[in-house]
């Protein structure tokens, strides 16, 4: 009886994660124009990884982060211009990004506060800013020190056009993702039971509230 319950919970988790991951990944790369404002795209993949990691812990976050990261690399591979001027596809950056985000998000104030909606939004906000800042700094360094040319974006453009627009869009994108994960998510109660059992799984005992 207990085994059946565990099995059904596990099946639910796998099925829900599979459907949501595929849906979010495919929608993101198929219809980006529908979610674009001021030249920035709502990053559902990024937000999804942030929220799964924040709400359901490191293990869930890492697995989803890896899958989403690989999908991002396959479907929207980043291009880096080499010193020879040739554009090269680089595989693995999406994976690195999503794994990094999942590790940071799953530990975002989760030790001392409950995993609540306001902090989930704060998590998305902080992760977006960190990602954008890191991306621009890497681009700036790459352009100046490796390619030997100026970075064409000014500080104001980076701050307002890129970072501010992106975090506003990502906060908007987070709303439906939160609803999906909390009320129709991988766990029936909206809570990962592992996180309630501190001694067994090494998680925290700050259960979810919204």
């Amino acid at each position: 009886m207990v085994n059946n319950m565990i099995d059904s919970a596990l099946i639910r988790k796998i099925v829900v994660y599979f459907i949501y991951t595929m849906l979010i990944v495919c929608v993101q790369v198929s219809f980006p124009n529908s979610f674009t404002f001021n030249h920035q795209v709502m990053d559902f993949m990024f937000v999804y990884v942030c929220l799964v990691s924040y709400y359901f812990g490191t293990i869930d976050g890492l697995i989803i982060g890896c899958v989403v990261g690989i999908c991002r690399d396959v479907l929207a591979t980043p291009v880096i211009v080499g010193t020879d001027g040739n554009a090269n596809l680089v595989y693995g950056l999406g994976l690195l990004l999503m794994v990094g985000v999942s590790l940071l998000s799953s530990n975002f104030f989760t030790k001392h506060t409950r995993r609540k909606f306001s902090f989930a939004m704060m998590d998305v906000l902080v992760m977006t800013i960190l990602y954008k800042l890191f991306g621009h700094i890497v681009n700036l360094g790459f352009n100046i020190f490796i390619l030997g040319k100026n970075y064409s974006l000014s500080f104001q453009q980076v701050l307002f056009d890129s970072i501010t627009t992106q975090f506003i869009l990502n906060l908007l994108a987070a709303l439906p993702v939160v609803v999906l994960l909390r009320f129709m998510g991988p766990y029936r109660s909206g809570i990962n039971p592992r996180l309630l059992n501190k001694s067994e799984f090494g998680g925290d005992d700050n259960w979810l509230t919204i």
Partner: protein, 290 residues
Amino acid sequence: MTALAVLLLVAVVILGAIPNSPVKNMVKPINAVISPIQKIVKNAGDALGNFYAAISDGIAIREENQELKSQIVELQYVITQNDEARIKYEELKDAFHIKDTFSSYEIYGAAILSRDADEWFSIIRVDIGTDDGLVVDNGSSLAVVDVQMNLLGRVIETGKDNSKILPLIHEGFNVIGKVNEVNGAVVVISGDSYLKNDGLCLVTGIDANIIPEIGSEIVTSGDGGLFPQGIPIGTITSVDTSDPLNITATLLPYTEIGSVKDLFIMVPNAPEDSEFIDADSSQVSNTDGE
């Protein structure tokens, strides 16, 4: 443990950047799994969008229908005139041996599967690949054009059933162009992180003695061998002469990448299929005798 995992991932990234690295082969099975799912989602989204458009456009279509009916009568007359003009054109073409500009290229139609995920993950994927005969070797590329034969980008990688396109406005894109007139100035068109937000490209390599005017049309020059000569790229929208040693301009591409759904890939015919070099006259001719 975490540091080890991150180090491992960094190693994968570095390995992935090396041409012909095994990482590219490792992602192929994943591509095979996710591509069909993504196609289904895209088709479902398109169908939903079409359904919504059908309802919302219903009233406008009815009014437009009335207007179109009256236009049909006028167009019938124009068609008759055009038919006559076409016959005359064909006669003239034969008479003057006008060669089709891109007759030595095979044109492959493709539909866009996926677009950019964000400003740094910005590749376009299309639904044809090596199975359809597209092959891109290291150092080579294929020109990609829109339905009006305007330059849209280039093929950067081909997979079994999909290919990746580097769009014209991406900062990694470079093409040599020229002003579309006799002895027009040769310039370099490239993507730029800032200008791409406005759908523009950067024009550099401008000779101070032959500065293109605003409104000048730029076409591919054919230099470099990647792109055939004469593909329209766009028009010059501004010229910055403040630094005489580094005159730059901005170019508005003809193609609007965001709204393009279908595109065309230009594959050069094998030399034995389309052209041969006459050893005596050193002239390039088509096998069909044009």
